[in-house]
């Protein structure tokens, strides 16, 4: 049976990270979930708006929520960690502050109820994918992976109430269920440099370089991410990273949705992996071929 839920891709997933959107849609389709875009959505304001104009930073996400409410969506999935963070924060603030909500309602000409369930990509996977993945999985993701959560997915804990702020585990659990061996490493929530990507690529080189090098040094074969900003810094900016670290770094960076797509046997095109800058040379073992041996091995870890 086809389930329908709201979908807010956000700007990045239309542009520099369109492969993330492609992989999420492929993943949802594979599990009979139809993602319906929030009609006439706009930019969430990301990190720029709340540095410049507080009320604008509330109004932009509020309008998105209003549009979703208008379309009678009770749940929306927001794969971009920054959009997820902004939408959740704004809904939280507006819910508790009547005066602010009244002001924002006036600006966006809507009556917000602030009761939309906003899911990040990991929560979406937990709700719609995790229970069924075993039956659909064709390949074992039998690799050492480094799950990298970034800043925005788990913080601030009081509002998001998702996973542990330090040493989060939710993506590790998902990857384990695919047969992967997630490494224990210290940089799960380090800053990648984020928006400095454009203005100060050298800083990003240093910050992201450290993350990628640490993952590689600890033997990871892939870095798993859940944020388009993190991905472009770790992937697209790889030359800058290599320059800062003074060494060649070949470890590929995958969205968690792409990792599942791979395990499901989706093509590189379907999951958008072909768009990556760092080539993804990962070949997975057929699940049926040697299931027992591999499973035991992962359990040990």
């Amino acid at each position: 049976m086809q389930k329908k839920i709201g979908y807010y891709p956000g700007c990045s997933l239309e542009g520099s990270s369109r492969e993330y959107s492609e992989s999420v849609v492929t993943l949802a389709n594979a599990f009979d979930v139809e993602l319906v875009q929030v009609p006439d959505w706009n930019c969430c304001g990301a990190t720029a708006a709340h540095n410049l104009n507080s009320i604008l930073s509330f109004s932009l996400p509020a309008r998105i929520l209003a549009k979703a409410q208008e379309a009678e969506m009770d749940t929306i999935v927001v794969p971009c960690a920054a959009c997820y963070n902004r939408l959740t924060m704004v809904q939280h603030e507006l819910k508790k502050d009547d005066a602010l909500r009244a002001e924002v309602n006036g600006i966006i000409e809507a009556e917000l109820k602030c009761d939309i369930k906003i899911l990040n990509i990991v929560q979406f996977i937990q709700m719609f994918v995790a229970d069924f993945v075993a039956s659909k999985q064709q390949f074992l993701f039998d690799k050492k992976v480094a799950c990298y959560y970034g800043c925005l997915l788990v913080r601030p804990h009081d509002v998001l109430d998702f996973d542990r702020t330090e040493d989060p585990q939710s993506m590790d659990e998902v990857m384990k269920s695919l047969g992967a061996n997630p490494i224990d490493w210290p940089f799960k929530t380090e800053c990648c440099g984020a928006g400095m990507s454009v203005s100060r690529t050298d800083i990003v080189g240093r910050l992201s370089g450290r993350i990628v090098k640490e993952a590689a040094d600890r033997g990871a074969e892939a870095i798993i991410v859940a944020c388009p900003m993190c991905h472009s810094n770790l992937d697209m900016r790889r030359p800058a990273l290599e320059k800062a670290m003074g060494e060649k770094l070949t470890i590929p960076v995958l969205y968690i949705s792409q990792a599942i797509d791979m395990a499901l046997g989706k093509s590189q095109k379907e999951s958008g992996i072909n768009r990556h800058f760092v080539p993804v040379n990962i070949s997975l073992q057929n699940k049926v071929a040697a299931p027992q041996v591999v499973l035991e091995k992962t359990e040990e870890n």
Partner: protein
């Protein structure tokens, strides 16, 4: 027939400047039941008080209203004066026409009228006052001290030295508490065991002290002066009378690899063990969870080697009941062992330890004989990073309060390390340095200046292991927030001090209130720091909030002196302004319907059930009963009683109704 005397005070001009006192006296003299009404310049002066006394004798007064200042000021003065003249002191009331009238209003007829109304109100009240006598409760002069750490030891010795019996209950096999684990103590750096163990021995030898170790409180009934405490003596699997403490069993016990609680897991112990060599009593117990005999049904090596045949494998828990006049809680604290800070790697990396473990490393009797060697490989660490406030002052992840002792013990740790490893470098990350005790600030300065401890003001964001080193990443907020990275060999976390496990259950057994962190609550944070809201139960030491040794000992002695004070009388005298359940003649006995709504609302657990029986012992009725030893007279039960069967002496229903009527009727 009431014969009330009314005495209007001018208070110099304080009252008479705005109130026409002569008029008040004149009007009052015409109130029904008023026999004498006079005004005088200073009623509280000797001649003024004599006026009252003489009037009582001359007119055989049944009640006195002194219309002057607040009763909070001079009620005791005038009640004493009345008592001297032979009038029951509770038949004297004060009408407050100064603070509540002359001082807050301008001179006017309205002000005088108000004063008259106030006097009338109190006259009507005093007509209904009853002669009351103080309540006397007999006292059993034995104290039960719960917890055998330094607080319990100090309190027990103080009470025992004052000549009273003490029962000291400790749940571990030995007394000594956390203080016995410490290496040296700040700010004097004297050895903790050297100052504590003699006191432990004193406890064991004191003729007034009965010591129960490996024991816990099972239940507590009764109230101040007369508690009945049931103590569970956990089975030691040993006949203590026969055991000489020779230690042969410990040497031969085949199970030798149990992490020692006393050594914070850094050392090992056997299944039959004493926690540490200076333990009091120095007799072993069998840890049944780890003992081969209890697991597999055979072994009994200890029984074979015991020269006095003291081992008792089939011994069961036993109980003793103690009658006590007071209880003293000294259950101490614990340090937070937590995964609150996964980023500090506590529990993940062997070389990240807590402060208590470091104490054992630094202790001459510890697992390394006092050499600072890291747990993972026994190497001497070249750099140690100490992280203060690991959990304290952190409402987001830990606890919001300051644990208070960590600044000092962290400075001490760094100093001890430097004294033992001269070439080593200690770093301390801190938020603030709180060194407010006597010689404390000087101690910290010494650590910084003489021992060159590197203090870095800032928080640590992360500790992770790389190439055998612990990488500590933090920030130096005094260098404009510059990131700092230290490659350390060992990390010591000053984890927060928390309430001792089991505090909540104990508090519920004793009906002692506790805060949200499970620390016991004192009756008043400033004026009753060692009392609890439950009369006869006192607090000492870190069970109330984390405290250092000097404070703990001070609190213990304070609590002990409260107990000794209580025990200095054979009877306990209390103010009689308490609630009573009204009784009447058979067949009703009492209008109390036995709904017992009053029981849960009483803040002092002073209400229980009373059975009214006929001569052959059959229960006729069950009604509420208020324990006069516990009731504090708040009256909450009075307002809750649906059948108006409870009244509070001094503020009874008749009195307050008469006050309301008198206040309004003539207005």
């Amino acid at each position: 027939m009431a014969r009330i005397g009314v005495f209007i005070c001018h208070c110099g001009e304080n009252i008479s400047a705005t109130v026409d006192c002569e008029k008040v006296a004149k009007v009052a003299s015409e109130f029904p039941g008023v026999t004498v009404s006079v005004d005088y310049k200073y009623m509280c002066s000797d001649p003024g008080q004599n006026m009252v006394k003489e009037a009582i004798l001359e007119h055989n007064l049944t009640g006195v209203v002194v219309s002057a200042c607040s009763p909070r000021m001079h009620e005791p003065t005038f009640r004493n004066a009345c008592a001297e003249a032979g009038l029951n002191p509770f038949l004297c009331e004060m009408a407050n026409i100064r603070e509540h009238c002359s001082w807050v209003h301008e001179k006017s007829d309205a002000t005088t009228d108000k004063a008259i109304d106030i006097v009338r109100t109190l006259v009507e009240k005093v007509k209904r006052n009853e002669a009351l006598a103080p309540i006397y409760v007999p006292i059993t002069k034995t104290a039960v001290v719960i917890g055998g750490g330094v607080a319990g030891i100090q309190a027990s010795l103080d009470i025992a030295d004052a000549g009273h019996k003490v029962v000291l209950v400790e749940r571990e096999p030995s007394i000594g508490g956390h203080m016995s684990q410490l290496s040296e103590t700040f700010p004097t750096l004297d050895c903790s065991q050297c100052i504590l163990t003699p006191r432990m021995v004193d406890v064991a030898r004191h003729p007034n002290i009965t010591l129960y170790t490996y024991a816990e409180i099972e239940s507590v009934d009764g109230s101040i002066g007369n508690f009945n405490v049931k103590i569970r003596l956990k089975s030691k699997s040993l006949d203590e009378k026969l055991c000489t403490g020779c230690g042969a069993c410990i040497q031969k016990c085949p199970v030798k690899k149990i992490p020692s609680e006393f050594e914070q897991g850094l050392g090992k112990r056997t299944a039959i063990y004493v926690p540490f060599p200076q333990a009091v009593p120095n007799k072993p117990v069998i840890d049944r969870v780890n003992c081969t005999y209890y697991i597999k049904g055979k072994c009994k090596v200890c029984e074979i080697v015991c020269p006095t045949k003291a081992i008792r494998f089939d011994q069961e828990d036993s109980f003793v009941e103690v009658q006590a006049g007071a209880l003293l809680l000294a259950t101490g604290f614990d340090v937070l062992k937590t995964n609150f800070f996964p980023e500090y790697g506590y529990g993940k990396y062997e070389d990240v330890i807590d402060g208590l473990a470091f104490e054992r490393l630094a202790s001459a009797s510890g697992p390394t004989k006092g050499e600072i060697r890291r747990p993972s490989d026994g190497e001497i660490p070249k750099k140690i990073v100490f992280i203060a406030c690991a959990g304290s002052r952190d409402p987001a992840k830990g606890i919001e309060y300051c644990s208070k002792i960590c600044c000092m013990y962290t400075a001490k740790h760094a100093m001890l390390y430097k004294h033992k490893v001269h070439e080593g470098t200690p770093y301390i990350f801190y938020m603030d340095i709180r060194a407010t005790g006597k010689m404390y600030e000087e101690f910290v300065r010494r650590a910084i200046e003489e021992d060159e401890v590197k203090y870095i003001r800032g928080r640590v964001s992360q500790v992770y292991e790389k190439n055998g080193k612990l990488i500590v990443r933090g920030v130096d907020t005094l260098l404009m927030g510059q990131a700092v990275e230290i490659e350390a060999d060992m990390v010591v976390l000053a984890t927060a001090g928390i309430a001792s496990p089991g505090s909540e259950e104990l508090a519920q057994k004793l009906h002692v209130s506790y805060d949200k962190h499970k620390f016991f609550s004192e009756a008043h944070p400033k004026l009753k720091p060692v009392e609890t809201n439950t009369a006869g139960i006192f607090l000492a030491g870190a069970c109330q909030s984390t405290k250092d040794i000097p404070e703990t000992v001070a609190a213990a002695s304070a609590a002990a002196s409260k107990v000794a004070g209580l025990f200095s009388n054979d009877l306990l005298k209390r103010d009689p302004l308490i609630a009573v359940v009204k009784k009447c003649a058979p067949p009703l006995y009492s209008s109390c319907t036995g709904c017992f709504m009053c029981i849960p609302v009483c803040p002092y657990q002073a209400i229980d059930k009373e059975e009214i029986k006929d001569r052959s012992g059959n229960i006729i009725k069950t009604i509420s009963h208020i324990n006069p030893g516990l009731c504090q007279g708040c009256g909450t039960c009075v307002a809750f009683c649906k059948s108006k069967s409870i009244d509070i002496l001094g503020y009874n229903h008749d009195q307050v109704c008469a006050e309301v009527e008198a206040l309004l009727n003539e207005w």
